[in-house]
């Protein structure tokens, strides 16, 4: 009897997991817009990784083209005032956007998730301090808070990353706090407690994995949000130092020569929009595929 039962149970378990993965794939790849987003992201990563091979010119050397050259077969997107190739700068700008986005999301989510779980797991003073501080931080628009922090720390890409990380902490903390409160009510957490497992163990081994699906959605969407915020900051002149390439700064440089060469600011702006769109769409697709109940909440 036992010989027959054990493999059957194992089999059914595998089957359930397999079908869940199948359902995920079916829902995730079903929507055209999600697929477009995914393709844009794959292209973006390829462009960022292979930038030195893809860029037709060195993005930092001035004078590879006449100043403010119009788009031509040699310079597809023309050149800026200093005669630097716009396409090459656009390609290198993808590295800035992705680097800032990923590092800031990693730092911000690590801190925010920790604060959210701790607040959800404690009562009284600790909980009140953390959550009211998060409420207070939510009173600052992300762009304003990161603008002030970056400006006070001094100009530079590292400070922009720090500023964006700090400004995004409350978003994660709030979501994780809510998730922790609801996951905590489950019987298996009570079972863990009765087995004598400590708070930290419960938080890391049981709450965090259960909060994972909504978190991955938030993180994906935040990548888009932070890239947009970084573009805003670099448009205002805060962030990467010249001659480094950032899309927001390129839009601003092009703005000054809008009549002579509109492509200078149109192209990087379109790049920002496509990338933010792609992260949002993939985030949407992940949400629908992982947990349709989250629709409207995330």
């Amino acid at each position: 009897m036992a010989d027959i039962q054990t493999p059957t149970m194992g089999f059914s378990e595998n089957k359930a997991r397999g079908s869940e993965w199948k359902r995920f794939r079916r829902v995730f790849f079903a929507r055209g817009a999600v697929m477009i987003g995914l393709i844009i992201l794959v292209l973006l990563f390829i462009v960022a990784i292979f930038a030195p091979f893809l860029a037709p010119y060195n993005p930092y050397i001035p004078g590879v083209a006449p100043s403010l050259a119009k788009p031509s077969s040699h310079h597809w997107l023309g050149a800026d005032l200093l005669g630097r190739d716009t396409l090459s700068r656009l390609i290198y700008g993808s590295r800035t956007a992705l680097m800032v986005g990923f590092i800031a999301v990693a730092i911000g989510s690590a801190i925010g998730i920790t604060l959210g779980i701790v607040a959800g797991f404690t009562r009284g003073f600790v909980n009140a301090i953390i959550m009211r501080a998060m409420d207070a931080m939510m009173c600052f628009p992300m762009l304003i808070l990161s603008l002030v922090i970056a400006a006070l720390l001094g100009n530079g890409i590292v400070n922009v990353i720090i500023a964006l990380s700090i400004s995004s902490i409350p978003i994660y903390a709030r979501v994780v706090y809510g998730l922790t409160l609801s996951i905590k009510e489950n019987d298996y957490i009570l079972a863990q407690k009765s087995l004598g497992s400590g708070s930290w163990r419960t938080m890391l081994a049981h709450i965090l994995p259960n909060a994972f699906p909504p978190l991955i959605v938030i993180v994906t969407m935040q990548l888009g949000g932070l890239i947009l915020a970084e573009a805003g900051l670099s448009f205002l002149g805060i962030g990467i130092k010249p001659p480094g390439a950032a899309w927001g700064a390129m839009v601003n440089e092009g703005y000054q020569y809008l009549l002579r060469s509109p492509v200078l600011s149109f192209a990087p702006g379109l790049a920002i929009m496509l990338v933010v769109f792609a992260f949002n769409m993939v985030g949407d697709g992940l949400r629908d595929a992982l947990d349709p109940k989250l629709r409207g909440l995330l």
């Binding site: 207070a136 002030v148 805060i238 839009v251």
Partner: protein, 319 residues
């Protein structure tokens, strides 16, 4: 209900205190002598004789301990004294009085447009789910939430200003001086700063509408033979508006944050542009004041949303 209101106001007060702490200590915990921050140019301080520096230190109250500095700063704000700007050689409160109405006017228009247009097209897309209005509106809302506002501004300046000459490309005129010119100048900035809100509100309205029209009581309304207009506008709208109101209120943060970009693109002399120029001019007293005013505005808006929730949702009212 009274308990709910008192509780909300109490929480808002606590958050307000934390906000003042953040704004104050943000400027003080960072590296560098706060005197440099107050006086601005580092070179001018270094060139001064030590006695003069000490005199300045005393004048700005920087020789006192940090907590009493904090309390005198808060005390100043309560009396409407935000300190003096180094760059403009003027009281910050006077600068704010000139520029705040401009940002508030644009912000108010953007908030209203964002709510009205967002809700209307959201209802339309929700009711006509899968038909052409939905197929046009829904992808457009994705564009609306992803487009960088400064880039949208530049696109509009290029096409409507420089190519078609329909609208002035920048500047601001008070509506009391020249209403027509003022309105023409404001069309593009207001579209810019409300587009995100329009798109976000429309998305929320659509999904909230879809959820509501699937409920039993709506089926009953249809079964009674009511017209589509009455079912949608009278029965479904009320309940589906609740989540949208939160979003409309939260939109003020995005609009005020975006004002930094929009006012820069369109050269509007509001608080957003003052913020940017003060940051580059290291005029941190002004930065501190603006950050405080913006965060308090958002705090009040959140409180208002919370309280309106109590009126709209009986579960909260009696809960």
């Amino acid at each position: 209900m009274t308990t709910y209101i008192i509780r909300r106001i109490f929480l808002a007060l606590i958050v307000l205190i934390i906000v003042t702490l953040i704004v104050f200590f943000l400027m003080r915990l960072l590296p560098g002598d706060p005197l440099m921050i107050f006086v601005g140019q580092q070179s001018s301080v270094q060139a001064m004789p030590p006695e003069q520096i000490e005199a300045l230190r005393h004048e700005f109250g920087l020789d006192k301990n940090i907590m009493s500095q904090y309390f005198s700063w808060v005390g100043g704000i309560v009396r409407g004294n935000f300190g003096s700007s180094i760059y403009y050689h003027e009281k910050v409160s006077k600068l704010l009085a000139q520029r705040l109405p401009i940002t508030a006017y644009i912000g108010f228009l953007s908030l209203v447009f964002g709510a009205l247009i967002g809700i209307i097209i959201g209802i339309w897309a929700g009711v006509k789910r899968g038909k052409w209005p939905d197929k046009v509106i829904t992808p457009l809302t994705y564009v609306g939430i992803t487009i960088p506002v400064f880039w949208l501004g530049i696109l509009m300046i290029y096409f409507f200003g420089l190519m078609l000459h329909w609208l002035p490309t920048n500047g601001y005129t008070s509506p009391f001086t020249d209403f027509w010119l003022s309105t023409r100048q404001l069309v593009m900035p207001v579209i810019c700063s409300s587009l995100f809100a329009i798109a976000a509100n429309a998305r929320q309205m659509r999904s909230s509408m879809l959820e509501t029209i699937g409920q039993d009581y709506i089926r009953t309304a249809w079964a009674k033979g009511l017209s589509e207009r009455v079912v949608v506008l009278k029965h479904a709208l009320k309940n589906s508006l609740i989540p949208v109101i939160t979003l409309v209120g939260m939109g003020i943060g995005g609009i005020l944050g975006g004002s930094v970009l929009v006012e820069t693109v369109f050269s509007i002399p509001g608080v957003g542009r003052l913020m940017v120029s003060s940051i580059f001019g290291q005029d941190y007293v002004v930065v501190q004041a603006i950050t405080f005013v913006i965060s308090v505005t958002i705090l009040l808006m959140n409180l208002l949303v919370d309280l309106s929730y109590g009126f709209l949702d009986p579960r909260i009212r009696y809960g």
